[in-house]
Symmetry: C2
Subunit: 81 residues, 2 copies
Amino acid sequence: MRWEVRVELKPGILDAEGESIARSLALLGIAGVRRVGTARIYDLEFENVSAPEAERLARDAVDRLLANPVIHRVTVRPGPS
Amino acid sequence: MRWEVRVELKPGILDAEGESIARSLALLGIAGVRRVGTARIYDLEFENVSAPEAERLARDAVDRLLANPVIHRVTVRPGPS
Protein backbone atom coordinates (compact mmCIF):
# COMPACT_ATOMS: atom_id res chain seq x y z
CA MET A 1 0.00 0.00 0.00
CA ARG A 2 1.50 3.28 -1.12
CA TRP A 3 0.45 6.88 -0.63
CA GLU A 4 2.01 9.74 -2.51
CA VAL A 5 2.41 13.10 -0.81
CA ARG A 6 3.00 16.15 -2.97
CA VAL A 7 4.30 19.28 -1.24
CA GLU A 8 4.49 22.55 -3.12
CA LEU A 9 4.63 26.20 -2.21
CA LYS A 10 1.37 28.09 -1.87
CA PRO A 11 0.61 30.63 -4.57
CA GLY A 12 2.25 33.91 -3.61
CA ILE A 13 5.17 32.28 -1.81
CA LEU A 14 8.43 32.84 -3.70
CA ASP A 15 9.71 29.64 -5.33
CA ALA A 16 13.38 30.58 -5.31
CA GLU A 17 14.53 27.31 -6.83
CA GLY A 18 12.00 27.57 -9.64
CA GLU A 19 13.04 31.17 -10.37
CA SER A 20 16.67 30.14 -10.45
CA ILE A 21 15.93 27.29 -12.87
CA ALA A 22 13.90 29.59 -15.14
CA ARG A 23 16.85 31.97 -15.29
CA SER A 24 19.31 29.15 -15.98
CA LEU A 25 17.14 27.82 -18.81
CA ALA A 26 17.09 31.25 -20.43
CA LEU A 27 20.88 31.45 -20.15
CA LEU A 28 21.11 28.02 -21.80
CA GLY A 29 19.06 29.35 -24.71
CA ILE A 30 15.96 27.33 -23.81
CA ALA A 31 13.46 30.11 -24.46
CA GLY A 32 9.70 30.30 -24.06
CA VAL A 33 9.63 29.28 -20.40
CA ARG A 34 7.47 31.76 -18.53
CA ARG A 35 7.63 30.19 -15.11
CA VAL A 36 9.05 27.15 -13.32
CA GLY A 37 7.36 25.80 -10.22
CA THR A 38 8.85 23.07 -8.06
CA ALA A 39 7.30 20.46 -5.83
CA ARG A 40 8.52 17.60 -3.74
CA ILE A 41 7.03 14.11 -3.84
CA TYR A 42 7.22 11.69 -0.92
CA ASP A 43 6.25 8.17 -1.87
CA LEU A 44 5.33 6.40 1.38
CA GLU A 45 5.22 2.62 1.27
CA PHE A 46 3.33 0.94 4.11
CA GLU A 47 3.27 -2.64 5.27
CA ASN A 48 0.73 -4.51 7.38
CA VAL A 49 -1.55 -1.49 7.45
CA SER A 50 -5.06 -1.08 6.01
CA ALA A 51 -5.65 1.54 3.31
CA PRO A 52 -7.56 3.98 5.57
CA GLU A 53 -4.98 3.55 8.33
CA ALA A 54 -2.17 4.16 5.82
CA GLU A 55 -3.86 7.35 4.67
CA ARG A 56 -4.21 8.49 8.28
CA LEU A 57 -0.50 7.80 8.88
CA ALA A 58 0.45 9.63 5.67
CA ARG A 59 -1.53 12.71 6.74
CA ASP A 60 0.05 12.48 10.18
CA ALA A 61 3.50 12.40 8.53
CA VAL A 62 2.58 15.53 6.56
CA ASP A 63 1.43 17.39 9.65
CA ARG A 64 4.39 16.43 11.81
CA LEU A 65 7.32 16.24 9.41
CA LEU A 66 6.83 16.79 5.69
CA ALA A 67 5.14 20.15 5.31
CA ASN A 68 4.73 23.55 6.86
CA PRO A 69 1.09 24.68 6.68
CA VAL A 70 2.12 28.34 6.58
CA ILE A 71 3.85 28.04 3.23
CA HIS A 72 2.97 24.66 1.73
CA ARG A 73 0.05 23.25 -0.20
CA VAL A 74 -0.18 19.49 0.18
CA THR A 75 -1.89 16.77 -1.83
CA VAL A 76 -2.15 13.19 -0.55
CA ARG A 77 -3.30 10.47 -2.93
CA PRO A 78 -3.01 6.72 -3.34
CA GLY A 79 0.24 5.82 -5.06
CA PRO A 80 0.85 3.27 -7.82
CA SER A 81 0.50 -0.20 -6.33
CA MET B 1 0.94 25.16 -22.01
CA ARG B 2 2.52 23.31 -19.13
CA TRP B 3 4.74 20.25 -18.96
CA GLU B 4 5.53 18.47 -15.74
CA VAL B 5 8.92 16.86 -15.28
CA ARG B 6 9.33 14.28 -12.53
CA VAL B 7 12.88 13.38 -11.51
CA GLU B 8 13.51 10.48 -9.15
CA LEU B 9 16.43 8.24 -8.36
CA LYS B 10 16.83 5.02 -10.32
CA PRO B 11 16.10 1.82 -8.45
CA GLY B 12 19.28 0.75 -6.67
CA ILE B 13 20.51 4.30 -6.09
CA LEU B 14 20.42 5.21 -2.40
CA ASP B 15 17.68 7.73 -1.61
CA ALA B 16 19.36 9.27 1.43
CA GLU B 17 16.61 11.80 2.05
CA GLY B 18 13.93 9.12 1.87
CA GLU B 19 15.85 6.91 4.29
CA SER B 20 16.27 9.80 6.68
CA ILE B 21 12.56 10.59 6.56
CA ALA B 22 11.64 6.94 7.15
CA ARG B 23 13.85 6.93 10.25
CA SER B 24 12.38 10.21 11.50
CA LEU B 25 8.83 8.90 11.05
CA ALA B 26 9.68 5.84 13.13
CA LEU B 27 11.14 8.07 15.83
CA LEU B 28 7.93 10.11 15.80
CA GLY B 29 5.95 6.93 16.41
CA ILE B 30 4.48 6.84 12.90
CA ALA B 31 4.91 3.10 12.37
CA GLY B 32 4.19 0.83 9.43
CA VAL B 33 6.26 2.79 6.92
CA ARG B 34 8.50 0.34 5.07
CA ARG B 35 10.15 2.74 2.69
CA VAL B 36 10.06 6.40 1.68
CA GLY B 37 11.05 7.44 -1.83
CA THR B 38 11.46 11.02 -2.91
CA ALA B 39 11.08 12.76 -6.25
CA ARG B 40 11.28 16.28 -7.52
CA ILE B 41 8.68 17.88 -9.75
CA TYR B 42 9.44 20.73 -12.12
CA ASP B 43 6.34 22.37 -13.51
CA LEU B 44 7.40 24.22 -16.67
CA GLU B 45 5.03 26.84 -17.98
CA PHE B 46 5.57 27.90 -21.59
CA GLU B 47 4.25 30.84 -23.55
CA ASN B 48 3.95 31.41 -27.30
CA VAL B 49 5.12 27.87 -27.97
CA SER B 50 3.24 24.98 -29.62
CA ALA B 51 2.64 21.82 -27.59
CA PRO B 52 5.19 19.68 -29.47
CA GLU B 53 7.75 22.47 -29.29
CA ALA B 54 7.09 22.85 -25.55
CA GLU B 55 7.66 19.13 -25.05
CA ARG B 56 10.91 19.34 -27.00
CA LEU B 57 12.05 22.27 -24.84
CA ALA B 58 11.07 20.42 -21.65
CA ARG B 59 13.12 17.38 -22.68
CA ASP B 60 16.00 19.67 -23.58
CA ALA B 61 15.77 21.23 -20.09
CA VAL B 62 15.90 17.74 -18.56
CA ASP B 63 18.98 16.76 -20.56
CA ARG B 64 20.87 19.97 -19.95
CA LEU B 65 19.86 21.03 -16.45
CA LEU B 66 17.29 19.09 -14.48
CA ALA B 67 18.51 15.50 -14.36
CA ASN B 68 21.59 13.33 -14.41
CA PRO B 69 21.02 10.27 -16.61
CA VAL B 70 23.46 8.20 -14.56
CA ILE B 71 21.31 8.31 -11.43
CA HIS B 72 17.91 9.72 -12.37
CA ARG B 73 14.77 8.33 -13.89
CA VAL B 74 12.72 11.04 -15.58
CA THR B 75 9.09 11.28 -16.62
CA VAL B 76 7.80 14.15 -18.78
CA ARG B 77 4.07 14.63 -19.17
CA PRO B 78 1.59 17.37 -20.01
CA GLY B 79 0.75 19.38 -16.91
CA PRO B 80 -2.65 20.65 -15.77
CA SER B 81 -3.72 23.47 -18.06
